[in-house]
Assembly symmetry: C2
Homo-oligomer: 199 residues x 2
Amino acid sequence: MPRAGLSAERLIGEAAELADEVGFEQVTVSALARRFGVRVASLYSHLDGSHDLRTRIALLALEELTDRAAAELAGRAGRDALVAFADVYRDYARQHPGRYAASRYRLDPETAAASAGVRHARLLRSVLRGYDITGDEQTHAVRLLGSVFHGYVSLELEGGFSHSAPDSGRSWARIVEVLDALLRNWPDAAQPDASQQGS
Amino acid sequence: MPRAGLSAERLIGEAAELADEVGFEQVTVSALARRFGVRVASLYSHLDGSHDLRTRIALLALEELTDRAAAELAGRAGRDALVAFADVYRDYARQHPGRYAASRYRLDPETAAASAGVRHARLLRSVLRGYDITGDEQTHAVRLLGSVFHGYVSLELEGGFSHSAPDSGRSWARIVEVLDALLRNWPDAAQPDASQQGS
DNA sequence: GCAAATTGCCTAAATGGTTTAGGTTTTGTA
DNA sequence: TACAAAACCTAAACCATTTAGGCAATTTGC
Protein backbone atom coordinates (compact mmCIF):
# COMPACT_ATOMS: atom_id res chain seq x y z
CA MET A 1 0.00 0.00 0.00
CA PRO A 2 1.25 3.49 -0.85
CA ARG A 3 2.23 5.79 1.95
CA ALA A 4 0.61 9.09 2.74
CA GLY A 5 3.92 10.85 3.19
CA LEU A 6 3.23 12.31 6.56
CA SER A 7 5.59 14.50 8.46
CA ALA A 8 5.21 16.73 11.46
CA GLU A 9 5.37 19.78 9.19
CA ARG A 10 2.62 18.71 6.83
CA LEU A 11 0.55 17.49 9.73
CA ILE A 12 0.64 20.81 11.51
CA GLY A 13 -0.01 22.74 8.34
CA GLU A 14 -3.10 20.74 7.57
CA ALA A 15 -4.15 20.89 11.20
CA ALA A 16 -4.02 24.68 11.02
CA GLU A 17 -6.20 24.58 7.90
CA LEU A 18 -8.57 22.28 9.69
CA ALA A 19 -8.71 24.63 12.64
CA ASP A 20 -9.69 27.52 10.38
CA GLU A 21 -12.37 25.40 8.76
CA VAL A 22 -14.02 23.74 11.73
CA GLY A 23 -12.71 25.58 14.77
CA PHE A 24 -9.70 25.02 16.95
CA GLU A 25 -11.53 23.00 19.58
CA GLN A 26 -12.66 20.56 16.91
CA VAL A 27 -9.12 19.82 15.85
CA THR A 28 -8.54 16.33 16.98
CA VAL A 29 -6.03 13.64 16.21
CA SER A 30 -8.89 11.61 14.77
CA ALA A 31 -10.12 14.35 12.50
CA LEU A 32 -6.62 14.97 11.27
CA ALA A 33 -6.10 11.28 10.53
CA ARG A 34 -9.37 11.24 8.60
CA ARG A 35 -8.16 14.20 6.58
CA PHE A 36 -5.06 12.28 5.57
CA GLY A 37 -6.94 9.05 4.95
CA VAL A 38 -4.85 7.32 7.50
CA ARG A 39 -5.40 5.40 10.72
CA VAL A 40 -5.42 7.39 13.91
CA ALA A 41 -2.53 5.53 15.47
CA SER A 42 -0.33 6.44 12.54
CA LEU A 43 -0.15 10.02 13.72
CA TYR A 44 1.26 9.10 17.06
CA SER A 45 4.69 8.58 15.63
CA HIS A 46 4.69 12.18 14.44
CA LEU A 47 2.81 13.76 17.29
CA ASP A 48 2.88 13.35 20.99
CA GLY A 49 -0.86 13.30 21.35
CA SER A 50 -3.61 15.80 21.19
CA HIS A 51 -2.08 18.39 23.52
CA ASP A 52 1.09 18.37 21.49
CA LEU A 53 -0.91 18.83 18.31
CA ARG A 54 -2.68 21.87 19.66
CA THR A 55 0.52 23.30 21.04
CA ARG A 56 2.20 23.08 17.68
CA ILE A 57 -0.67 24.78 15.93
CA ALA A 58 -0.42 27.51 18.53
CA LEU A 59 3.30 27.95 17.87
CA LEU A 60 2.70 28.13 14.14
CA ALA A 61 0.01 30.74 14.59
CA LEU A 62 2.11 32.86 16.91
CA GLU A 63 4.91 32.83 14.42
CA GLU A 64 2.73 33.74 11.46
CA LEU A 65 1.07 36.53 13.37
CA THR A 66 4.35 37.91 14.64
CA ASP A 67 5.95 37.78 11.21
CA ARG A 68 3.08 39.73 9.75
CA ALA A 69 3.27 42.29 12.50
CA ALA A 70 7.00 42.69 12.11
CA ALA A 71 6.63 43.19 8.37
CA GLU A 72 3.92 45.82 8.73
CA LEU A 73 5.66 47.62 11.54
CA ALA A 74 8.88 48.12 9.66
CA GLY A 75 9.32 51.80 8.94
CA ARG A 76 6.29 52.95 10.84
CA ALA A 77 5.98 54.75 14.13
CA GLY A 78 3.43 56.43 16.32
CA ARG A 79 -0.12 56.31 15.14
CA ASP A 80 0.74 54.51 11.91
CA ALA A 81 2.47 51.78 13.84
CA LEU A 82 -0.44 51.44 16.23
CA VAL A 83 -2.94 51.14 13.41
CA ALA A 84 -0.74 48.67 11.55
CA PHE A 85 -0.24 46.48 14.58
CA ALA A 86 -3.92 46.51 15.41
CA ASP A 87 -5.00 45.75 11.88
CA VAL A 88 -2.58 42.88 11.50
CA TYR A 89 -4.01 41.41 14.63
CA ARG A 90 -7.63 41.72 13.65
CA ASP A 91 -7.07 40.72 10.03
CA TYR A 92 -5.21 37.62 11.03
CA ALA A 93 -7.97 36.64 13.41
CA ARG A 94 -10.62 37.14 10.75
CA GLN A 95 -8.73 35.34 8.03
CA HIS A 96 -7.64 32.52 10.30
CA PRO A 97 -10.08 32.19 13.17
CA GLY A 98 -8.90 28.70 14.05
CA ARG A 99 -5.26 29.71 14.09
CA TYR A 100 -6.15 32.78 16.10
CA ALA A 101 -7.91 30.64 18.68
CA ALA A 102 -4.85 28.41 18.67
CA SER A 103 -2.62 31.38 19.41
CA ARG A 104 -4.54 31.79 22.65
CA TYR A 105 -4.01 28.15 23.62
CA ARG A 106 -2.37 27.97 27.00
CA LEU A 107 1.27 27.02 26.70
CA ASP A 108 3.40 25.86 29.56
CA PRO A 109 5.83 28.58 30.66
CA GLU A 110 8.95 27.17 29.02
CA THR A 111 7.20 26.64 25.70
CA ALA A 112 5.70 30.09 25.86
CA ALA A 113 9.06 31.63 26.66
CA ALA A 114 10.56 30.00 23.58
CA SER A 115 7.66 30.93 21.31
CA ALA A 116 7.15 33.83 18.96
CA GLY A 117 4.80 35.19 21.60
CA VAL A 118 7.61 37.03 23.33
CA ARG A 119 8.66 38.59 20.03
CA HIS A 120 5.08 39.68 19.49
CA ALA A 121 4.97 41.21 22.93
CA ARG A 122 8.19 43.06 22.24
CA LEU A 123 6.71 44.40 19.02
CA LEU A 124 3.72 45.75 20.86
CA ARG A 125 5.98 47.42 23.37
CA SER A 126 7.99 48.91 20.55
CA VAL A 127 4.85 50.53 19.20
CA LEU A 128 4.71 52.49 22.44
CA ARG A 129 8.09 53.99 21.74
CA GLY A 130 6.24 56.40 19.49
CA TYR A 131 4.51 57.84 22.54
CA ASP A 132 5.84 59.45 25.63
CA ILE A 133 4.99 56.80 28.20
CA THR A 134 7.63 55.07 30.27
CA GLY A 135 8.17 52.81 33.23
CA ASP A 136 5.19 51.22 34.92
CA GLU A 137 2.89 53.42 32.94
CA GLN A 138 4.20 51.85 29.77
CA THR A 139 3.39 48.42 31.13
CA HIS A 140 -0.11 49.53 31.98
CA ALA A 141 -0.47 50.85 28.45
CA VAL A 142 0.82 47.61 26.95
CA ARG A 143 -1.69 45.65 28.99
CA LEU A 144 -4.46 48.01 27.97
CA LEU A 145 -3.67 47.63 24.29
CA GLY A 146 -3.30 43.87 24.55
CA SER A 147 -6.62 43.66 26.33
CA VAL A 148 -8.46 45.80 23.84
CA PHE A 149 -7.07 43.98 20.83
CA HIS A 150 -7.63 40.52 22.18
CA GLY A 151 -10.93 41.40 23.75
CA TYR A 152 -12.36 43.09 20.69
CA VAL A 153 -11.28 40.38 18.33
CA SER A 154 -12.60 37.57 20.44
CA LEU A 155 -15.91 39.28 21.04
CA GLU A 156 -16.15 39.93 17.33
CA LEU A 157 -15.36 36.33 16.45
CA GLU A 158 -17.94 35.11 18.91
CA GLY A 159 -20.43 37.17 16.97
CA GLY A 160 -20.83 39.84 19.62
CA PHE A 161 -21.03 42.79 17.25
CA SER A 162 -22.41 41.04 14.26
CA HIS A 163 -25.86 42.23 13.48
CA SER A 164 -25.90 45.65 14.96
CA ALA A 165 -24.96 49.06 13.70
CA PRO A 166 -22.47 50.54 13.46
CA ASP A 167 -20.43 48.13 11.45
CA SER A 168 -17.78 46.31 13.43
CA GLY A 169 -14.97 47.54 11.20
CA ARG A 170 -15.98 51.12 11.86
CA SER A 171 -15.89 50.58 15.59
CA TRP A 172 -12.49 48.98 15.30
CA ALA A 173 -11.02 51.86 13.36
CA ARG A 174 -12.55 54.38 15.70
CA ILE A 175 -11.35 52.56 18.80
CA VAL A 176 -7.80 52.45 17.50
CA GLU A 177 -8.03 56.14 16.74
CA VAL A 178 -9.28 56.86 20.21
CA LEU A 179 -6.52 54.77 21.71
CA ASP A 180 -3.97 56.75 19.75
CA ALA A 181 -5.40 59.93 21.19
CA LEU A 182 -5.28 58.42 24.65
CA LEU A 183 -1.65 57.42 24.29
CA ARG A 184 -0.68 60.80 22.96
CA ASN A 185 -2.46 62.37 25.85
CA TRP A 186 -1.78 59.84 28.57
CA PRO A 187 -3.24 61.16 31.83
CA ASP A 188 -1.03 61.76 34.83
CA ALA A 189 -0.79 58.99 37.32
CA ALA A 190 -0.80 61.39 40.24
CA GLN A 191 -4.37 62.46 40.88
CA PRO A 192 -6.52 63.09 37.85
CA ASP A 193 -9.67 63.63 39.87
CA ALA A 194 -9.83 67.38 39.56
CA SER A 195 -11.74 68.29 36.45
CA GLN A 196 -9.09 68.08 33.84
CA GLN A 197 -9.99 69.63 30.60
CA GLY A 198 -7.37 70.81 28.18
CA SER A 199 -4.37 68.57 27.81
CA MET B 1 -31.17 2.27 47.61
CA PRO B 2 -31.67 5.89 48.61
CA ARG B 3 -32.04 8.51 45.94
CA ALA B 4 -29.69 11.35 45.37
CA GLY B 5 -32.47 13.88 45.05
CA LEU B 6 -31.39 15.36 41.79
CA SER B 7 -33.04 18.27 40.09
CA ALA B 8 -31.99 20.55 37.31
CA GLU B 9 -31.39 23.30 39.86
CA ARG B 10 -29.06 21.32 42.09
CA LEU B 11 -27.33 19.84 39.09
CA ILE B 12 -26.49 23.21 37.61
CA GLY B 13 -25.42 24.59 40.94
CA GLU B 14 -22.99 21.75 41.50
CA ALA B 15 -21.87 21.94 37.91
CA ALA B 16 -20.98 25.59 38.42
CA GLU B 17 -18.97 24.64 41.51
CA LEU B 18 -17.28 21.96 39.51
CA ALA B 19 -16.45 24.45 36.79
CA ASP B 20 -14.80 26.75 39.29
CA GLU B 21 -12.81 23.87 40.70
CA VAL B 22 -11.60 22.10 37.59
CA GLY B 23 -12.30 24.50 34.74
CA PHE B 24 -15.33 24.94 32.54
CA GLU B 25 -14.05 22.74 29.73
CA GLN B 26 -13.65 19.87 32.16
CA VAL B 27 -17.30 20.01 33.17
CA THR B 28 -18.75 16.90 31.76
CA VAL B 29 -21.90 14.93 32.30
CA SER B 30 -19.75 12.08 33.53
CA ALA B 31 -17.85 14.17 36.04
CA LEU B 32 -21.10 15.62 37.32
CA ALA B 33 -22.60 12.15 37.73
CA ARG B 34 -19.52 11.07 39.65
CA ARG B 35 -19.92 14.06 41.91
CA PHE B 36 -23.44 12.95 42.77
CA GLY B 37 -22.51 9.30 43.09
CA VAL B 38 -24.96 8.43 40.39
CA ARG B 39 -24.89 6.73 37.01
CA VAL B 40 -24.29 8.90 34.01
CA ALA B 41 -27.53 8.04 32.31
CA SER B 42 -29.44 9.28 35.33
CA LEU B 43 -28.63 12.84 34.47
CA TYR B 44 -30.15 12.63 31.05
CA SER B 45 -33.63 12.95 32.44
CA HIS B 46 -32.66 16.31 33.92
CA LEU B 47 -30.35 17.52 31.22
CA ASP B 48 -30.49 17.53 27.50
CA GLY B 49 -26.89 16.48 27.12
CA SER B 50 -23.57 18.13 27.50
CA HIS B 51 -24.30 21.22 25.42
CA ASP B 52 -27.41 21.87 27.46
CA LEU B 53 -25.41 21.48 30.65
CA ARG B 54 -22.88 24.06 29.60
CA THR B 55 -25.54 26.41 28.35
CA ARG B 56 -27.31 26.33 31.68
CA ILE B 57 -24.12 27.03 33.58
CA ALA B 58 -23.58 29.96 31.24
CA LEU B 59 -27.04 31.30 31.96
CA LEU B 60 -26.49 30.97 35.68
CA ALA B 61 -23.19 32.80 35.47
CA LEU B 62 -24.63 35.61 33.36
CA GLU B 63 -27.37 36.07 35.87
CA GLU B 64 -25.09 36.12 38.88
CA LEU B 65 -22.72 38.53 37.23
CA THR B 66 -25.50 40.82 36.13
CA ASP B 67 -27.13 40.80 39.54
CA ARG B 68 -23.87 41.78 41.16
CA ALA B 69 -23.33 44.53 38.66
CA ALA B 70 -26.84 45.87 39.13
CA ALA B 71 -26.42 45.90 42.90
CA GLU B 72 -23.12 47.74 42.79
CA LEU B 73 -24.26 50.20 40.18
CA ALA B 74 -27.27 51.34 42.12
CA GLY B 75 -26.75 54.92 43.19
CA ARG B 76 -23.47 55.39 41.38
CA ALA B 77 -22.67 57.39 38.29
CA GLY B 78 -19.72 58.54 36.25
CA ARG B 79 -16.35 57.36 37.38
CA ASP B 80 -17.71 55.55 40.43
CA ALA B 81 -20.06 53.58 38.26
CA LEU B 82 -17.30 52.71 35.83
CA VAL B 83 -15.02 51.48 38.58
CA ALA B 84 -17.81 49.52 40.21
CA PHE B 85 -18.82 47.83 36.98
CA ALA B 86 -15.25 46.99 36.12
CA ASP B 87 -14.46 45.61 39.55
CA VAL B 88 -17.55 43.48 39.69
CA TYR B 89 -16.52 41.98 36.41
CA ARG B 90 -12.95 41.23 37.40
CA ASP B 91 -13.82 40.08 40.90
CA TYR B 92 -16.42 37.69 39.62
CA ALA B 93 -13.97 36.24 37.14
CA ARG B 94 -11.33 35.77 39.81
CA GLN B 95 -13.68 34.30 42.36
CA HIS B 96 -15.44 32.10 39.85
CA PRO B 97 -13.13 31.38 36.94
CA GLY B 98 -15.17 28.43 35.76
CA ARG B 99 -18.40 30.37 35.83
CA TYR B 100 -16.70 33.28 34.11
CA ALA B 101 -15.52 30.99 31.34
CA ALA B 102 -19.06 29.67 31.16
CA SER B 103 -20.41 33.17 30.72
CA ARG B 104 -18.39 33.34 27.51
CA TYR B 105 -19.84 30.09 26.22
CA ARG B 106 -21.39 30.67 22.86
CA LEU B 107 -25.17 30.70 23.05
CA ASP B 108 -27.46 30.42 20.11
CA PRO B 109 -29.07 33.76 19.31
CA GLU B 110 -32.48 33.08 20.83
CA THR B 111 -31.01 31.82 24.07
CA ALA B 112 -28.65 34.74 24.23
CA ALA B 113 -31.47 37.18 23.60
CA ALA B 114 -33.41 35.72 26.51
CA SER B 115 -30.41 35.65 28.86
CA ALA B 116 -29.20 38.07 31.46
CA GLY B 117 -26.52 39.01 28.95
CA VAL B 118 -28.72 41.66 27.43
CA ARG B 119 -29.38 43.12 30.87
CA HIS B 120 -25.66 43.17 31.49
CA ALA B 121 -25.09 44.95 28.22
CA ARG B 122 -27.72 47.51 29.11
CA LEU B 123 -26.01 48.10 32.43
CA LEU B 124 -22.75 48.79 30.70
CA ARG B 125 -24.43 51.23 28.40
CA SER B 126 -26.05 52.91 31.38
CA VAL B 127 -22.60 53.52 32.83
CA LEU B 128 -21.91 55.68 29.82
CA ARG B 129 -24.80 57.93 30.68
CA GLY B 130 -22.43 59.56 33.13
CA TYR B 131 -20.33 60.77 30.24
CA ASP B 132 -21.14 62.98 27.33
CA ILE B 133 -20.98 60.47 24.51
CA THR B 134 -23.94 59.69 22.31
CA GLY B 135 -25.01 57.97 19.15
CA ASP B 136 -22.54 55.81 17.29
CA GLU B 137 -19.75 57.14 19.45
CA GLN B 138 -21.48 55.67 22.46
CA THR B 139 -21.58 52.30 20.77
CA HIS B 140 -17.90 52.53 19.98
CA ALA B 141 -17.26 53.34 23.62
CA VAL B 142 -19.37 50.43 24.82
CA ARG B 143 -17.44 48.11 22.57
CA LEU B 144 -14.17 49.52 23.79
CA LEU B 145 -15.08 49.00 27.41
CA GLY B 146 -16.41 45.53 26.80
CA SER B 147 -13.25 44.61 24.96
CA VAL B 148 -10.94 45.94 27.64
CA PHE B 149 -12.80 44.26 30.47
CA HIS B 150 -13.16 40.93 28.77
CA GLY B 151 -9.71 41.05 27.27
CA TYR B 152 -7.94 42.00 30.45
CA VAL B 153 -9.73 39.45 32.55
CA SER B 154 -9.16 36.62 30.17
CA LEU B 155 -5.49 37.44 29.68
CA GLU B 156 -5.17 37.63 33.44
CA LEU B 157 -6.89 34.29 33.99
CA GLU B 158 -4.66 32.70 31.37
CA GLY B 159 -1.75 33.83 33.49
CA GLY B 160 -0.64 36.52 31.12
CA PHE B 161 0.29 39.09 33.73
CA SER B 162 1.14 36.76 36.54
CA HIS B 163 4.77 36.95 37.44
CA SER B 164 5.73 40.36 36.24
CA ALA B 165 5.70 43.76 37.81
CA PRO B 166 3.70 45.81 38.20
CA ASP B 167 1.05 43.84 40.02
CA SER B 168 -1.96 42.97 37.91
CA GLY B 169 -4.37 44.65 40.28
CA ARG B 170 -2.44 47.88 39.96
CA SER B 171 -2.64 47.77 36.18
CA TRP B 172 -6.33 47.09 36.37
CA ALA B 173 -7.02 50.06 38.62
CA ARG B 174 -4.85 52.29 36.49
CA ILE B 175 -6.46 51.17 33.27
CA VAL B 176 -9.93 51.86 34.59
CA GLU B 177 -8.72 55.26 35.71
CA VAL B 178 -7.30 55.98 32.30
CA LEU B 179 -10.50 54.85 30.63
CA ASP B 180 -12.46 57.21 32.81
CA ALA B 181 -10.22 60.05 31.68
CA LEU B 182 -10.69 58.97 28.10
CA LEU B 183 -14.46 58.91 28.40
CA ARG B 184 -14.54 62.31 30.09
CA ASN B 185 -12.37 63.66 27.35
CA TRP B 186 -13.62 61.65 24.41
CA PRO B 187 -11.84 62.86 21.27
CA ASP B 188 -13.76 64.29 18.38
CA ALA B 189 -14.63 61.97 15.57
CA ALA B 190 -13.43 64.47 13.00
CA GLN B 191 -9.83 63.92 12.08
CA PRO B 192 -7.38 65.84 14.26
CA ASP B 193 -4.72 64.90 11.73
CA ALA B 194 -5.12 66.16 8.22
CA SER B 195 -5.22 63.84 5.22
CA GLN B 196 -8.20 61.65 5.83
CA GLN B 197 -11.88 61.58 5.34
CA GLY B 198 -14.33 59.61 7.39
CA SER B 199 -15.42 56.32 5.87
C1' DG C 1 21.72 -4.26 -7.15
C1' DC C 2 20.94 -6.34 -2.53
C1' DA C 3 20.64 -6.96 2.49
C1' DA C 4 19.92 -4.58 6.58
C1' DA C 5 18.15 -0.95 9.18
C1' DT C 6 14.88 2.40 9.60
C1' DT C 7 10.68 4.45 9.19
C1' DG C 8 5.72 4.68 8.04
C1' DC C 9 1.65 2.99 8.62
C1' DC C 10 -0.98 -0.82 10.26
C1' DT C 11 -4.16 -3.91 13.63
C1' DA C 12 -5.65 -4.60 18.19
C1' DA C 13 -7.10 -3.29 22.54
C1' DA C 14 -7.86 -0.52 26.78
C1' DT C 15 -9.88 3.67 28.73
C1' DG C 16 -13.31 7.06 29.12
C1' DG C 17 -16.92 10.51 27.59
C1' DT C 18 -21.72 10.82 25.18
C1' DT C 19 -26.07 9.38 24.26
C1' DT C 20 -30.33 6.47 23.62
C1' DA C 21 -33.53 2.69 24.78
C1' DG C 22 -35.51 0.54 27.83
C1' DG C 23 -36.41 -1.44 32.78
C1' DT C 24 -37.22 -1.17 37.88
C1' DT C 25 -37.79 1.02 42.20
C1' DT C 26 -39.35 4.86 44.97
C1' DT C 27 -42.51 8.35 46.21
C1' DG C 28 -46.43 11.42 46.38
C1' DT C 29 -51.03 11.41 45.95
C1' DA C 30 -55.90 9.98 44.76
C1' DT D 1 -53.97 0.95 49.19
C1' DA D 2 -52.98 1.42 44.58
C1' DC D 3 -51.23 3.75 40.85
C1' DA D 4 -48.85 7.14 38.11
C1' DA D 5 -44.99 9.79 37.70
C1' DA D 6 -40.44 10.57 38.73
C1' DA D 7 -35.83 8.98 39.85
C1' DC D 8 -32.46 6.05 39.00
C1' DC D 9 -30.82 1.88 36.87
C1' DT D 10 -28.48 -1.64 33.16
C1' DA D 11 -27.06 -2.28 28.62
C1' DA D 12 -25.19 -1.02 24.51
C1' DA D 13 -23.61 1.80 20.54
C1' DC D 14 -20.55 5.40 19.08
C1' DC D 15 -16.43 8.09 18.99
C1' DA D 16 -11.87 10.15 20.66
C1' DT D 17 -7.46 9.05 22.98
C1' DT D 18 -3.56 6.42 23.67
C1' DT D 19 -0.25 2.43 23.91
C1' DA D 20 1.85 -1.95 22.27
C1' DG D 21 3.47 -4.43 18.94
C1' DG D 22 3.70 -6.00 13.76
C1' DC D 23 4.54 -5.90 8.78
C1' DA D 24 5.82 -3.41 4.65
C1' DA D 25 7.95 0.32 2.13
C1' DT D 26 11.84 2.98 1.80
C1' DT D 27 16.54 4.32 2.53
C1' DT D 28 21.36 3.23 3.42
C1' DG D 29 25.79 0.96 3.23
C1' DC D 30 28.18 -2.17 0.67
